[in-house]
């Protein structure tokens, strides 16, 4: 299996994502520079976290306009699986392959800590490695993860099973206390209509070994790789 990690000026979780994918794939993904206009032929596109263009103007706005993103959008619409994490999620929204927007955290602060997530919708490819409505632990590290969508979009996301993860308590209740950033309906991650694009704020790539306090992220990548090959 082949994977491509897109690297923008200011990306800084690209190495973490590479390590996580390599661990599950048994080989390194291609690291693709934002200035390239060609994507290597690949079975998975991964957009990493970080501060592309310093998060200036709007998180992800400038990255969404770089040459490579046209290719990414084309492939995404053609059905290539895409996982977009944190700043990657913001970029995917700005590029229009995922609905909604990510606003400044409700408490105005950067938040970095582990979070428990409720696996909300079925999607064999991305969360088939978990039980339905299992609670998994990833970590958040962001300043602008406050999910917003207009009423219809929100209704549609909930109705069509496009809500991938919700911030929850360790026992799986979706409560205000469990919501680190004020996201509508505690939404932490969503799928596009076709279900081949996943965007999420929490970082699975930070939970890939016991030493890093958890392996729920490893399970995520192991299954993703397995389901693609």
């Amino acid at each position: 299996m082949k994977a491509a990690v897109i690297v923008f000026p200011g990306s800084n979780c690209d190495r973490d994502l590479k390590v996580a994918l390599a661990q599950s794939m048994g080989r390194d993904p291609d690291m693709v520079w934002h200035g390239d206009s060609e994507l290597p032929d690949t079975d998975l596109i991964a957009i990493p976290g970080g501060f592309s263009y310093g998060d200036y103007l709007r998180c992800g706005a400038m990255a969404a306009n770089s040459p490579i993103m046209r290719e990414v959008v084309r492939k995404a619409e053609a059905g290539t699986p895409v996982v977009a994490i944190c700043n990657g999620f913001q970029i995917a929204m700005e590029a229009g392959i995922l609905p909604g927007a990510l606003l400044r955290n409700a408490n105005q602060k950067f938040v970095c800590h582990d979070v428990d997530l409720l696996v909300t919708a079925e999607n064999e490819r991305f969360v088939g490695g978990y039980e339905q409505s299992q609670v998994v632990r990833f970590a958040v590290a962001h300043h602008d993860g406050n999910f917003y969508a207009d009423a219809e979009t929100l209704k549609e996301l909930e109705g069509e099973g496009q809500v991938a993860f919700k911030y929850a308590t360790a026992s799986g209740e979706v409560t205000a206390e469990a919501n680190p950033n004020g996201s509508m309906n505690n939404i932490a991650g969503i799928y596009n209509k076709a279900g081949n694009v996943l965007g999420l704020m929490p970082h699975p790539e930070r939970m890939i070994s016991e030493m890093l306090t958890g392996t729920d992220g490893k399970t995520f990548f192991d299954h993703l790789v397995h389901s693609i090959v």
């Binding site: 306009n65 700005e94 927007a101 955290n105 409700a106 406050n146 207009d150």
Partner: protein, 80 residues
């Protein structure tokens, strides 16, 4: 010439920054303050060109980059 773009959140889009500002203002005793909304101003130096041409250019900049039309409105003002 110069152009100024005012970007504001659409009505109904919640504004966390505005909300936080209004809370802090209350905390500081400014009780007369109600809702607060925060927006952006972007000031551009432009090579001289016909006004309508400039309008059109800046309009395209807003569409492509400066504003996120999912959540934001913008207005353009040309000064010279």
């Amino acid at each position: 010439m110069k152009a100024r773009v005012y970007i504001s959140l659409k009505n109904g889009v919640l504004d966390p920054q505005g909300k936080a500002i209004s809370n802090s203002l209350h905390g500081l005793g400014f009780t007369a303050v109600g809702e607060v909304r925060q927006g952006k101003t972007i000031e551009l130096d432009l090579a001289d060109m016909a006004k309508d041409k400039a309008e059109e250019e800046v309009e395209r900049m807003c569409q492509q980059l400066l504003a996120n039309t999912v959540i934001e409105n913008y207005t353009i003002e040309l000064l010279d």
